[in-house]
Amino acid sequence: MSSGSSKPVGKMSINRILLWIGLVVVLFVTLFPFWWVLRTAWTTQGQVFNDTSSLLPVEFTWYNFRRVLGLVSTEEALAAGGSGQSLNFFLFLRNSLIFATLVTLGQVFFSSMSAYAFARLKFPFRNFLFTLYISALMVPGIVLLIPNFILVLNVREFFVETFGLASDNPILGFSGMIAPFFLMTPFAVFFLRQFFLGINKEVEEAATIDGASYATLYFRIILPLAQAPLATLGIITFIQAWNEYLWPLVIGREDSVKVLTVALSIFQSQQPSGAPDWTGLMAATTMAIIPVLIVYMIVGRRVLDSIQFTGFK
């Protein structure tokens, strides 16, 4: 594929140099905004408005990160020239982790169960059911948003009235937020079914002759053989759940369950009419990015490969 095959090695054509310049520009455009987040987060609150063109942090400081993690007292904040406004994102970071982790575990596990049934077992209405699942991929999220909102609201009310739970009970709150993603998504079922179909049946057939039950086949053969796609799906699901905004925005407004994306957007839109607290916001933004970056650094290759899959299996 490389043009080296059709051109002598060592000969750098003008075209190639131009292409390299283009690629460097693209990489710069992609990365610069991230640098600007860090640069702002590392700059003191006062200097961010004074020295706007410096490409490096002005008066380098970790203060904003400490502020965002709630490690700064009000007096210190006022002394540093800030509003002293509370900015504790630690709670929201925790909530995001809970939300994304539970969604991932539930969705991958339960979707893999039904994917196994669709890929391996014969039962009435199989194709009908599968087509029904897949057709749900076509429905825009906004169509389901309001009915699901009302459903979760009603179920919550029921629990509050029947069991006398507090209406901001975090377990109740998280359950409602997680529920629509927990048991299945059509994409997860489809994705895993495709992989299960590709697994060689011989091992299962041999095990069946030895009297293995379907549960044994699923837990002992399918799941171990499908570790790679399960992990890939898990990563995609985690990142998407971490990034989810609209659903937690409408259903998870209480602080006890509020996730980072919602907290960030509300914080921004509730700024007093003065200048926004950019240094604090960018420090909080950095913290919202870091978990995704960590996952990505460890398993980036899987994410990249999954994109080739979703496109061209």
């Binding site: 059709s6 169509v143 389901l144 699901n148 960030l264």
Partner: protein, 316 residues
């Protein structure tokens, strides 16, 4: 989680279905297997019924009512639909969305093709691909906030850069004419790498021998591009366009974080209109009816696109 990935599946699935129909054999079922199957399916069946199937039907039902969540709903038939179709604000939201799609998709796709070709010609480096994909992995909220800061008319680095070059800075998200293109710009930045990787994967399926043959025949780069790359890439491009256009019509997060529909209603896209009706004014009937209209429009848009691309499938 209305990511692009989800929609990627449908096309392929349709093909799979057609294949299955042709070889349909009379199936026999054992009780044991059927029972096991439904046990395995049970959790997903509950999830599907509760959060997809019933809500979809309930949505249609709600859209035929006037309902503010607090009082009893009143059945009003198709009145919500009639009102919406006659409402200037609702039609404006479709116009704004269309404007956004037209700013977003062409630039995003062209940039993506260029990036894909650059990567294809120059490097297979995983690090380059990993960087290219980075913006797409970020939460929309984070990307939105980041660009509100970069595009700040007063002290944002973009305007400072523009002014340093001797031009006038723009109002970006705050300007009536620049707000929609600014939001498009943000999402072009977020999506072009992802789209480029899809196209890049498509480029790799084009056999090298074709390029070699063209090179032997003395074809230059632009001839190779238009005569080999573009025709062979057409199915991939079709697929990318169908999915990104549908995703683009559903823009919400970026608007919610950056402009909230403003200035005035310059960025009031359909999804923002629905959100605002439903969750600010609690007009549940009207909001669901609007979402149903959006759904219908999306179906029509997809059908038109599929038709357009299928008509040219004989190209390869």
């Amino acid at each position: 989680m209305e990511s692009h990935i989800q929609e990627l599946k449908s096309e392929e699935e349709i093909k799979g279905k057609q294949k299955k129909k042709k070889v349909r054999v009379k199936e026999t079922y054992t009780v044991r297997e059927t029972r096991a199957a439904f046990l395995f399916l049970l959790p997903s069946l509950i999830g599907f019924t509760a959060f997809y199937f019933i809500p979809a039907i309930r949505g249609v039902w709600i859209s035929l009512h006037e309902w503010d969540l607090l009082t009893e709903k009143t059945f009003i038939g198709t009145e919500n639909y009639a009102e919406l179709l006659g409402s200037r604000e609702f039609r404006n939201s479709f116009w704004v969305t269309l404007k956004y799609v037209l700013w977003n998709i062409p630039f995003q796709t062209v940039f993506a093709v260029f990036i894909a070709i650059m990567m294809h010609r120059l490097t297979k480096s995983t690090i380059v691909r990993a960087i290219i994909l980075l913006p797409w992995l970020m939460p929309n909220v984070v990307v939105g906030l980041l660009w509100v800061w970069l595009l700040d008319p007063g002290i944002g680095i973009v305007n400072i850069g523009i002014e340093a070059l001797g031009f006038d800075g723009l109002k970006w998200l705050g300007g009536l004419d620049t707000a929609v293109p600014s939001i498009a710009l943000i999402n072009i930045w977020r999506h072009m790498g992802y789209t480029a990787l899809l196209i890049f994967a498509g480029l790799q399926t084009i056999p090298e021998s074709l390029y070699e043959a063209a090179s032997i025949d003395g074809a230059n780069d632009s001839q190779t591009f238009w005569r080999i790359t573009v025709p062979l890439l057409r199915p991939v491009l079709a697929f990318v366009l169908v999915t990104t256009v549908i995703g683009s019509f559903q823009i919400f997060d970026t608007v919610a974080v950056t402009t909230q529909g403003g200035p005035i209603n310059a960025t009031e896209v359909v999804n923002w209109f629905i959100f605002e009706r439903g969750f600010d004014r609690f007009k549940m009937g009207e909001a669901t009816a609007a979402s149903m209209i959006l759904f219908s429009v999306l179906i029509v848009v997809s059908l038109i696109q599929l038709r357009l691309f299928n008509a040219d499938e004989s190209d390869f």
